[in-house]
Subunit: 323 residues, 2 copies
């Protein structure tokens, strides 16, 4: 099989990959094979290529494919990336995405989506509604991560909020908050990006420094830069909430006294529910077309990674099955 | 008037203090004079004496006194330490304890309780029930801070929780959680301290290192040591909550990746409601007697501070009016 490999800090194209087998660990649930059509490169993939988590293997976790077997055989599918054991106390408590025995597609113990074929448990797959183009459905996974915010935090219509970071994830988070009636001020270096966004999101320029900005009851940090956290804290109103989306690769210096004095709640937020993400893509209530910046065939994977790493780049797609 | 002063990193006894005037800033609410009977030394006082917040003046915010005027004139009172302006948007939103214009008794812009007399807005004072001894009522303020936890976090009866730190605040937090039916494992270096605590609190030895301890849905960090935070995070179960009580004086290195990956909620927690604290002291449902470690007359304030700073010391009282 054709696919990309990360090895020794490099992205390699291979044509002789074995078909993906069962995951490295975990109770094998009923697994399905998926022929991958298209995939998206995410900041986590770039981090893995730099050596994050000591990753070696096939990366990739944002994808659209066609199920080759199982209940959705023959249909276009997207997939939740955490494959849980289904049996441990965490799974039985309904927190399968946090199963300590989980494998994670293209990240942890499970070969990823930047290859012609992948495997996931049947329960992880979701059919893509016919009206959603394949290119757009690639956004189901990061958009689900944005929909994790309303699953964790009560959003109040009319309430002001700031989203820090006008990159891929920030643009999606801002749109999801706006869907819930929140009045979003989006911060970052690219004011032109807000032109294409639905009503309810206003680009408010760079992230205000220190105490320069008015403090908001809700701030979402989606910059990808762990150094922004201190600045983000200063923008949260007393008793307010800061949603943290950025996974840092190392410790950073942080003064949490403001968090205690102002009784701020800091909410770590990761993967989210696919159902509302697919519904929003089908309804066109979230705009993803302007986020598509480039497209590469699988064999040019190294170039695709380099392009995705270039500052100012939004989503880079890999055409895996050009059909 | 007699009282203690912090100046240049020293604790000084003075007999010629002026009567406390109106606060340095903020709209003057109806203020009452209070003759102080007894006061408690808290970790914040020790930090102020070391130069925290550049403090200079009369410290002290845990006290019992007799109101000299106002609606509670002649009665024993304790007092909420944050004096709000009452007029700004934060106050009007019901968050007076977070008023940006607030003064804080013995901490910020308002002369404190380690003196014969203090002033607070009438609305800050609470009458002490007759059945609560004066020594015990000194704990109203820190106990209120412990009661802030159930005001911020839903406590589930039967749910396990860990309280990190078996010092003054940790012992109070553990008891408050137990009042709500939470099964508390208290961690620290003093297993003997749990002997005097009510049922529902078990001393579980030192704070487990790294991934050695079973992860809990709720962890309360009350060690006073900001360096413990990383260890505390590792003890929180996925989607669990970490309540942070320690105010650090400086930034510390922190890797928040586990917070995001495990979707942990970090809740900053500071001052709390006095009503349930006084009710618990009156009912005897919270035990404070074993926390009383020493007592000094006002003129021996420097010795009292030195004693309070000695490792292993719980509450040190100042007898201000020996009556």
């Amino acid at each position: 099989l054709r696919g990309l490999l990360i090895r020794g800090g490099r992205v390699l194209y291979a044509e002789d990959l074995p078909a993906p087998g069962p995951p490295d660990s975990g109770a094998p649930a009923e697994e399905c094979r998926v022929r991958v059509l298209r995939a998206g490169i995410c900041a986590t993939d770039l981090a893995l290529a730099r050596g994050y988590m000591g990753f070696a293997g096939v990366p990739g976790h944002e994808f659209v494919g066609v199920a080759l077997d199982g209940p959705l055989a023959g249909r276009r599918v997207v997939g939740e990336i955490n494959a849980a054991c289904g049996a441990c106390p965490t799974c039985r408590a309904g927190l399968a995405r946090h199963c300590p025995h989980r494998t994670v597609l293209g990240i942890l113990g499970r070969s990823g989506a930047f290859a012609e074929e992948l495997r996931l448990p049947a329960g992880n797959l979701h059919a893509v509604p016919d009206e959603v183009p394949t290119d757009h459905a690639v956004f189901a996974e990061p958009l689900a991560a944005a929909f994790e915010i309303p699953a964790q935090v009560e959003l109040v219509p009319g309430q002001p909020a700031r989203v820090l970071g006008d990159g891929r994830l920030g643009l999606l988070c801002a749109q999801v908050l706006a869907l819930f009636g929140v009045e979003v001020a989006l911060h970052g270096r690219h004011p032109e990006r807000a032109e294409h966004l639905p009503a309810g999101v206003v680009h408010a320029g760079p992230i205000p420094a220190g105490d320069a900005g008015e403090r908001s009851p809700l701030v979402v940090e989606a910059t990808g830069d762990p150094q922004v956290l201190q600045q983000a804290l200063a923008l949260v109103a007393p008793r307010g909430t800061l949603v943290l989306k950025t996974t840092s690769e190392r410790a950073s210096a942080l003064d949490l006294a403001p968090l205690v004095v102002d009784e701020i709640t800091l909410v770590g937020s990761r993967c989210g529910p696919f159902e509302p993400a697919l519904a929003a893509l089908a309804a066109g209530s979230v705009t993803v077309e302007p986020l598509l910046h480039a497209r590469f065939p699988l064999r040019e994977g190294a170039a695709a990674f380099a392009r995705a790493a270039r500052p100012g780049t939004l989503k880079v797609l890999l055409d895996i099955d050009p059909a």
